[in-house]
Symmetry: C2
DNA sequence: GGCCAAACCTAAAGGGTTTAGGTTAGGGGC
DNA sequence: GCCCCTAACCTAAACCCTTTAGGTTTGGCC
């Protein structure tokens, strides 16, 4: 009987593909074993346990996302870069829903790609010339808005009534751009 | 042996409390049965199945949240109302993390409280005098930002370095307020 | 005092994770 | 060319969770 000749990477990628295909909740060691024509227990040779596997999918996805964002923002600046960054995330979330869901899951380990993503974000925000101390708040706002929008969109919580979410998305990006451009002078600065 | 004398509501509330205490993932029919000193199968008298139970927790939480928001925004308007609405959500998310997690789960049924919440939100947004067609986009932005922020905060994705999230939160609300006040004239309106 | 509905039970099937320990395949050293 | 050692894979079994089917008990009401 030919061996499946698995490895960590192969299993992790299969898990990510399974998540994209049938939903994040469907990624299960049993399902993967079935897919490979192997006994469930055999997967423990390549993977510490289920939670470690899901962490690995998270890491894989984060790396891919960082790659996409890197090429999206390359050569752009200001508002254009902001749009590119946000759109890259939205495209990823739509094209790879399972991988994107894996990103929502709090990961036990902070992968290296996380730092890359922060760096890319800061590069985009640099053109807005915020005070240094405000950079982190702006990053958080950006992350919250984009992730929040994509979560609500994915979970169908925006409802199927009303205009397309595409318009809402543009408005959200516009709002972010405005907020960033007018950052220091907003409201009544306490 | 004294009967536990359960009912749907009792089970649902216990599930919500369990979620707050030990995390949403910990709410399991087995755990609830243990808690009541009853066999798991007996719970099926009061609850259709696990997924229906989780939907009910969702509904319970949404009602509670709507209540809180209603009293929070009562008698306030404009920016003050916006802050009250957002803070009420943040308080709820922090004080009832399990119930709040239940809200993230896409519910099979759209509970009546959802409509109440939309109505409350629209009341808050009314003072910003947006064009009618923009109301839905503004609502989505508000929801996305608040939910996104709270998700990232709860999952620890903001990291434990850097300034408190409290400041970031205030900035986020400020940004929303700015976006709402300057809504029609932003960027280059296509 | 008896009956009936609802509350609770036992039993069992089915799926998932995980550990312990055994077998086999295949490549490197002699 | 054979050995042998390692890693890939296996079986077995324990444990937890959900769900269905069908039986028993309890308590209130007529």
């Amino acid at each position: 009987m030919a061996r499946a000749n698995l490895s960590s990477v192969v299993v992790i990628e299969a898990a990510a593909d399974l998540a994209d295909r049938e939903g994040f909740a469907a990624v299960t060691l049993s399902a993967l074993a079935r897919h490979f024509g192997v006994r469930t227990a055999s997967l423990y040779t390549h993977v510490r346990d289920l939670s470690a596997l899901l962490d690995s999918v998270h890491e894989l996805a984060l790396g891919e996302l960082a790659d996409r964002i890197a090429v999206a923002v390359a050569g752009r600046s200001g508002r254009e870069a902001l749009v590119a960054l946000a759109d890259a995330q939205r495209d990823y979330a739509r094209q790879r829903p399972g991988r994107w869901a894996a990103l929502q899951r709090p990961a036990a380990t902070a992968p290296a790609s996380a730092a890359r993503l922060v760096a890319l974000t800061w590069a985009v925000l640099r053109d807005y010339r915020l005070p240094d101390a405000e950079l982190v708040h702006a990053t958080r706002l950006l992350g919250a808005t984009v992730n929040g929008f994509l979560s609500l969109e994915a979970s169908g919580n925006f409802g199927h009534r009303g205009p397309t979410t595409d318009v809402s998305w543009r408005r959200a990006i516009d709002a972010l751009d405005t907020a960033l451009r007018t950052w220091p002078t907003e409201g009544n600065p306490a």
